[in-house]
Amino acid sequence: MSDRGGADAPFLEMVGIAKHYGGVHALQDVDFACRRHSIHAVLGENGAGKSTLIKIAAGVVRPDAGTMRLAGEEVRFATPPEAMRQGIVCVFQELSLVPDLSVADNIFITQPPGKWGFIDRRRQRRRAEALLARVGCEDIDPLERARNLPLSRRQLVELATALARDPKVLILDEATSALTARDVDAVFRILRELRDEGLAILYISHRMTEIEAIADTCSVFRNGRHIETFPQADRSRDEIVHMMIGREISQVYPPKPAAATNGTPSLEIENLTWQDRLRDISLTAAPGEIVGLGGLDGQGQRELLLALFGALRGVRGTVRIDGRRARIGSPAQAKSTRNGIAMIPEDRKTEGLMLPMSVRENLTIAGLSKMMRHVVIDPRREGARVDELVERLNIRVGNVRDAVASLSGGNQQKVVIAKWLVTEARILLLMDPTRGIDVGTKQELYGLMRQLADEGATILFYTSDYDELVGMCDRVFILYQGAVQHVFAGAEISERNIVRASLNLSLEDVSEDAAG
């Protein structure tokens, strides 16, 4: 490890950590260490392994290999509470407050003050007040229900909850993503105080400016590997971005057609707005085109696709399909012959498949109207269609009447895609379709996507893997906080441009950094 031998010994040390999910290596042979009196930033693209690393440290996930030492002693956590008792405390991106409990109950949810199993409510309230004051929320009544607080305040209550657990190692995973600039300053002030008191703080964020403001040390991860650890001031932004992207070309993509963007658009979106998650999104796409949606996770890409598929209520704006104004109130309407939209949802296991049902039933569920005899399903036509799909997509299946849950992840995803081939959809909305899938199947899917586009389909493609955006897309829209931040076409589509735009760094900075 490059950072051994500092002023004091590493406090939390992880050696040779590996973790894989199915065929996907989330972490490979990772050595990592952080010290007390230090704020340590962990950087990397989506899927680089940051989340898995902290989940292992916090006892949420057990590593396949490797050892962990805390203050020099080997530790092994089976559950989050075990890690917590040793002083490793997390503040996660997803809020974990129980909405209908009071703020004070939430703060002391795991270790309320009191005796013999009874909670001393008065003491709990006093201590909650003190902790709230500590995180700059003197104005919050500890007896207020958590659900009545605005999002940014809830995030600060999360921090207070973490402090109540008396942390030695405090992990913040995108914990500032819901905060306003003023709140972020308050959090930074607290973090610096905690650091000076001797805590080891792991700070995960996509916001480069924040990392420059707060971090003492940075570690960069890529593809499940620890790339480098260095003092924050030692590297420029551009060097860090470069380190996050790397130089490996891991996938092979089908060739893009010379110019696909001249056709009349089949999908026209104007000023699409939904709550505060989508802001005035306008976008067009033509048949044969693969349009990428990029950006960090959770910038409105998912909501955009769900809105187009009719799964969201209260969407404002106009959607035209083949020049006609489309009314899409539900997925059932979206898939109608008139609209011809299909969606591969984000979560295969809950949104894409009915796991207990057979492969056959999953394959035909969206297109049953095409295989009817009078009012009942014609089993012969259904069977023939299923055989055809299994062969076309090369789905490896023992018996099509087996539960779809028995297939591997890649083959399950093929089933999700295949069911939309039955409806002959002309507009495909793909929500991270290659997540958690082995490389071989990924390549098959890339080929299929290009083939469908060549046959005249219009494809909107969200992926958290920037490499795929570069490799697959004819144009890329980068979303940031629900709005289109940037559109790249042709040769502009580079991983560097995408990462820059995703992090909301102006593109001019790139050339300045490169010059400097």
Partner: protein, 324 residues
């Protein structure tokens, strides 16, 4: 794996129920003082028929991941109504039967509307609507009595061709004419899909709402057939006859291999589940068990059946999956 074996493996719940039923029935016949005869078979078939219909009805909401606690009340309402309208001239009898069946269908539809569009938990919605249906039944028939056409009743509770219990034929007819087409329709496939994963079904463009409405409506229709058949057995109506049917129908569904989580199972298993429950009663009667102990044994058997169904949960590795 051959087609038959695969089919057996995928319907192991129903196969298990059929096996248990056959064993129990053999024990029952051996204990019965008159042994196997046309009379004994017809009586056995009639005794379980009403519960079998109600259990078939209960299967559908359960397949969607819901439950119908009003099903016994619908049975009683239809039974009470039948004692008013299923009598007189043959035309009036026919009209009365249609009216009773439509009433059951309407009750089920109302349940479906409350569950689907009211977005109310099925248990709460049908608990409330069940009270309403019981109230209506009491208005129609405050005290047990009334009259049901005896020609039709005897035709339905004796044998066809002298050997086959007519009630058995009725069950087979309902399965073939209602259940099989429904199961193979888009609506029926949607019922299974909604129970397997409502989100995935919705995201596949399945009209989940319509499937659920159909499931609850058919449950009402099956309950009406059950109520009508009870009337054929007693020639009269009783507004409070439905109470034990709700719980027993759920028990029959579970014993028949349908998952209370939805998505897995079917009415065939439920029919055998119903006959298992009734045969147990018969076995205990002829084995000389004291009548007052019967609810105790029934309860123990129910607990056992529900525990068997819950074994599925034990196999789940991720404990978060059970907590939804």
């Amino acid at each position: 794996m051959s087609g038959l074996l695969l089919h057996l493996r995928q319907n192991y719940g129903a196969v298990l129920a059929i096996t248990i039923f056959v064993i129990l029935f053999v024990v029952f016949l051996s204990l019965h003082p008159r042994g196997p005869s046309v009379y004994v078979m017809t009586t056995a078939s009639n005794t379980g028929a009403a519960l079998a219909f109600v259990a078939m009805g209960q299967t559908l909401p359960v397949l969607t991941g819901g439950l119908d606690l009003s099903i016994g009340s619908i049975l009683a309402l239809c039974n009470a109504l039948a004692s008013e309208v299923v009598n007189g001239s043959p035309e009036r009898v026919a009209l009365g039967v249609v009216l009773v069946l439509l009433t059951g269908l309407a009750c089920g539809l109302i349940n479906g509307i409350v569950v689907v569009y009211g977005r109310i938990q099925p248990i709460i919605a049908t608990l409330a609507s069940g009270a309403v249906y019981t109230g209506l039944a009491l208005l129609i028939r405050p005290i047990p009595g009334g009259e049901i056409d005896d020609v039709l009743s005897e035709a339905m509770t004796y044998e066809t061709f002298g050997v086959i219990p007519t009630s058995l034929l009725l069950i087979v007819a309902v399965v073939l004419l209602i259940w099989v087409p429904f199961k193979n329709s888009v609506l029926g496939r949607g019922v299974y899909a909604a129970g397997s994963s409502e989100v995935a079904a919705y995201m596949s463009g399945v009209r989940v709402d319509r499937s659920k409405l159909a499931a609850y409506s058919l449950a009402g229709l099956f309950a009406a057939i059950g109520g009508l058949f009870l009337g054929f057995q007693t020639f009269s109506g009783d507004a409070l006859i439905g109470v034990p049917y709700t719980l027993n129908s759920i028990a029959a569904v579970v014993i028949g291999g349908t998952s209370l989580y939805g998505g897995i199972g079917g009415v065939i298993g439920s029919i055998f589940g119903a006959y298992i429950l009734r045969t147990i009663n018969g076995v205990m009667f002829f084995a000389g068990a004291p009548p007052l102990a019967q609810p105790l044994f029934e309860g123990i058997i129910l607990l056992g059946a529900v525990a068997l169904a819950a074994l599925r949960v034990v196999r789940i590795r991720n404990r978060l999956e059970v907590m939804d």
